[in-house]
Structures are given as C-alpha cells and as structure tokens.
C-alpha cells in the first residue's frame, strides 16, 4: 500500500466514523438513561431517510438542510411515542424483556408502515453534487461525504455541549450514573426520560436522513446499520458520548482498511467479528481498556 492510498483510506474512515457516531449516539443516550435497547432504531433511521426524501422531492429542500429539519420532527415523534407507550414500561436498572419486545414490535410496525406508504422500491436522493469530488493534493474526497461528516460532527459537538453545560445535561448524566440519586435531588425522571427518548429518536432520524444522501434505501433500511450501532456502543462502553465517538472510529477504521484483506461483501462479517472479539476480550469497551492502561502506568 502506498502512502497516498493509506491517506485516502484514512480520510474515508474518518468520514465514515462521523456518520457512524451520529447513528449510534441516539441508542446510547436512550440506553444510558432508560436502560432500553432501542431495537426500533433502524425503523426511525428509515423514517428519517424518507422524510428527507419527501422534503427534497416535494419542497426542493437541500438534503443536508432537510436532515437537520428531520431532527426536530423526529424529536416530537419520540416524545409522543414515549408518552403513548414507552412510559408504561416498568422502570428498571437492567433492560427488561418487556422493553425489548415493545421496541422490536415498534420496528416491525414502522417497517410495514414504510412499505405501506412508500412501497418496496429502492429510493435515493440524487442531487447535482452527488457525484462531485474534492481534491486535496493526492487525497480525493466525495463532497457529499464531507458535508455529511461536517453536519454529523456539528450535531455531536452540540450534544456534547448540552450534556456537559446545561442543567438538563447534568440531569441526564446523573440518571445514567445513578438513577436513585437523581430522584433524591428532585430530577423528574419521567420528564428527563421523555426528552432523552425524543433526543435519541431525533438522532436516529438525523442519521437516517444523512445516510440517505450517501446510500439508496427502502423500508428495510437501517438493519445493517443497527448491527453496526451495536458494535460501536459495545466498543465505546454503553454510557458515554465520547466513547461512542471512539467506537465509531474504530469500527470505521476496521471496515475501511478491512477492504484490503477481505472482499467488500464481507464487511458486515467484519463488524460482527469485531463485536465477538470485543465481547470476549474487552467486555467493558475502550473505556475499560484506557482505565486499565492508566492503572498500569
């Protein structure tokens, strides 16, 4: 491999990591606060993709701008679903069977709703920049990928700032680390859970809408991404946003450079393989590894 090839691969790994991070962070915050594994995540990504498509086709809204508009819409969808269904689940410090079944059921409903409204044909968002490339010296980057990356990073930074510098963010971190202590100081955990669920669904929709600019999609969209989100969350540790960013980069790096060694069709096998390896050797994720290194140092 030449240096130029390496830098090109590194650049595309980085761009992929941005979108992977946005895709996984919604699941992480929901799991952290509510201990619910959002199996319907892929369904909300699909919904986000079609919403972006509708905004683009009906109103000629730029797909990236459309993705940012999808966020508040899906936020509201999330809060409504929380009020209708999710708040009725028993609260627990462990994922419950009831929550898994509810989210799985929700996924099936969303998927079929997708088939009902949009049919089963593959769709895609095609604009004048879809195929345009930017050259930085020897490095070639797809314009759309770069813009998607920028939007993804901006959203991650915004979430990070909210979590670390607002009362709401502090209450989210408090519930993630110790729910009982949160209740004691007067955090209304149902309200925080509702907003968090909205945020998580909002991020799922955003990720779907951003991915819609890169890949074609149908109502089954999101399934392979759901598996990747699992890998990233396990890698990053289940409860931290910066962990998600690290996990996203590791997976994107492995997948991108994996192309050199295994055929592209086996990419998902690579993700799954990574999941198995991590669960066996590093069940606490990257955070546990750094803690271990710090102890040894």
């Amino acid at each position: 491999m030449t240096l130029i090839e390496f830098v090109n691969l590194l650049a595309s790994a980085l761009l992929l990591a941005g979108i992977y991070a946005v895709m996984s962070v919604g699941m992480t915050v929901i799991y952290g606060v509510m201990k619910i594994v959002n199996l319907a995540h892929a369904g909300f990504m699909m919904l986000g993709a079609y919403l972006a498509l509708e905004l683009f086709e009906r109103f000629r809204i730029d797909p990236i701008l459309a993705a940012l508009l999808v966020f508040p819409v899906m936020f509201v969808v999330g809060r409504v679903l929380h009020w209708l269904l999710v708040r009725r689940l028993p609260t627990s410090d462990q994922p419950t069977l009831a929550s898994l079944l509810l989210m799985f059921g929700l996924w099936l409903v969303l998927q079929n709703l997708g088939y009902f409204i949009w049919g089963n044909a593959d769709r895609s968002i095609y604009t004048s920049h879809t195929l345009s490339l930017l050259r930085f010296g020897a490095v070639t980057i797809s314009t759309v990928r770069l813009v998607v990356f920028g939007a993804a990073v901006a959203c991650m930074v915004a979430l990070h700032l909210i979590l670390n510098h607002t009362w709401f963010g502090r209450s989210v971190r408090a519930l993630i680390q110790n729910r009982y202590a949160g209740q004691i100081v007067g955090v209304d955990d149902q309200k925080t859970a509702s907003i968090t669920f909205g945020l998580g669904i909002g991020f799922a929709g955003l990720a779907g809408a951003l991915l819609a600019s890169l890949y074609s999609f149908n109502p089954d969209f999101g399934r392979p991404f759901l598996i990747r989100a699992f890998v990233i969350i396990v890698l990053g540790g289940l409860e931290s946003v910066s962990g998600v960013a690290i996990g996203a980069f590791v997976l994107a790096f492995v997948e991108t450079f994996g192309i050199l060694f295994v055929p592209a069709g086996y990419q998902l096998a690579l993700s799954y393989g990574l999941l198995v390896v991590v669960l066996i050797f590093l069940p606490g994720g990257v955070a546990a590894l750094t803690a271990k290194v710090r102890r040894l140092a």
Binding site: R170, R173, A174, A181, G182, I184, V185, G186, V187
Partner: protein, 244 residues
Amino acid sequence: MSNISESSILLSVQNLEVSYGPVQVLWGVTLSVRKGHVVSIIGSNGAGKSTTLNAILGVRKVGRGQIVFKQEDIVRQPPHERVKRHMTLVPEGRQLWPKMTVEDNLLMGAFPSTLRKDAVPNLSRVYDIFPRLKERRSQLAGTLSGGEQQMCAIGRGLMAEPELLMLDEPSLGLAPKIVDEIFEFVRNISREGVTILMVAQNVNYALRISQYAYLMETGKITLDGPSEKLLADDYVQEAYLGST
C-alpha cells in the same frame, strides 16, 4: 408530645405502611419532628429505617398513611415537589455520581427549577462549611476518600436550603476519626437552624446529638422519647449499646 403546639411540628408521619411487592416492611409508623430539633431513628439492620426516610422523600411508594410537612399533606407529591419544599435526603452509601465532578455533584442538589437561582450562593455556603470540597471541586467524585464523599453528599443535601435534612447512616463505613468529624458537622448544621432527621446504627452517637429518638424494630416504632431517656433505658442499653 401532646404539649407541643401544632406550628412547631415540621414533619408528622401517621400510620405509614410500605411494601416491597408482597412483603410489607413498614407497619404503621408514626413519628413527628419538631422544628430545630435533631431527631434520630435507631434500630438494627433491616428494621425499616431507610425505607421510612425514602418514603418521607417520596422515592419509595407509600401504601397507606399520611405525611404532613409544613402543615401540608405531601403523601401524593412526587419527590421533586418535596425537594422544592426544602426537604432533602443524604442517602445511605452516599450515592454520588462517581464520574461527575464534585462541583457538578453539589450543583445537582439545587436541580428543581425554583432552586437554581440560588445555586451559586448556596454553593459558596457549602464550600465555607466544607473547605476540603472547594479544594477538590473539579475532581471526579469517585476519586474522593470515604469521608470526603460523605461531606460531598451532605453538601449536596444542603444545596436545596433544607428545612428538613434527612441523614441516612452518615457514619457507615468511615474511620472513627472521620466519624467524629462528620457528627461535628451535623451538630454545626443543626446549630444553624436546620431540622435534622437522622438514621444511625451508631446508637451511641445518634442519641448523644439528638434531642428526641425513636426505636424501630421490624417495621414498627417500639419505643420513643427524649434521647437521654433512651440512652438510659435498660432495654436500649442491652440490645443496642452492648452493655450487660
């Protein structure tokens, strides 16, 4: 307690019953706390002392009974409404957020919207009481020593300007020297006019710093009276203070 006028009673609990699933743990607990007093609940492990405090704050669901705080029945109010009315709990085992800074831990004590505007002055008040927390303000709470964690937990409980501060086993798991220090803090906080309801297995200490005490056994109050009387009581001496 019949000679005490109604208005000097800050908290009154009547016939409180609490169950964990099918297992009933509180069987009609009745107690009251006078404004400005330190009141302790003593008793052995599993007697229902912590459950009583959790039920008073509302984090444990009450089956039956009445909780009157500042002349208002609060038994149906969620915990955050009770914190807004200046009732706080320093829970057993501290229950800090280990990966949040000391300062963020403290600030969370003023979380309800009506308390936030005074969070900054209250923070400096807490730092005045516990200068060691000020030194460690940007450290993660999980890296504090046991005694410092207890100070942080008490500090968090003071952030909501409590009229009633409930302390659950403030000395558990701490070295004897630190225990002295913590009880000295409790005494100072009480002198500033904060009413304290305290649960402690350290019966000797609890009875020495409180004015009134309740003995709790298997979910019931079995004895109550001025603390010095309980301290002199033969049964309490034998069963809880280890004298023969």
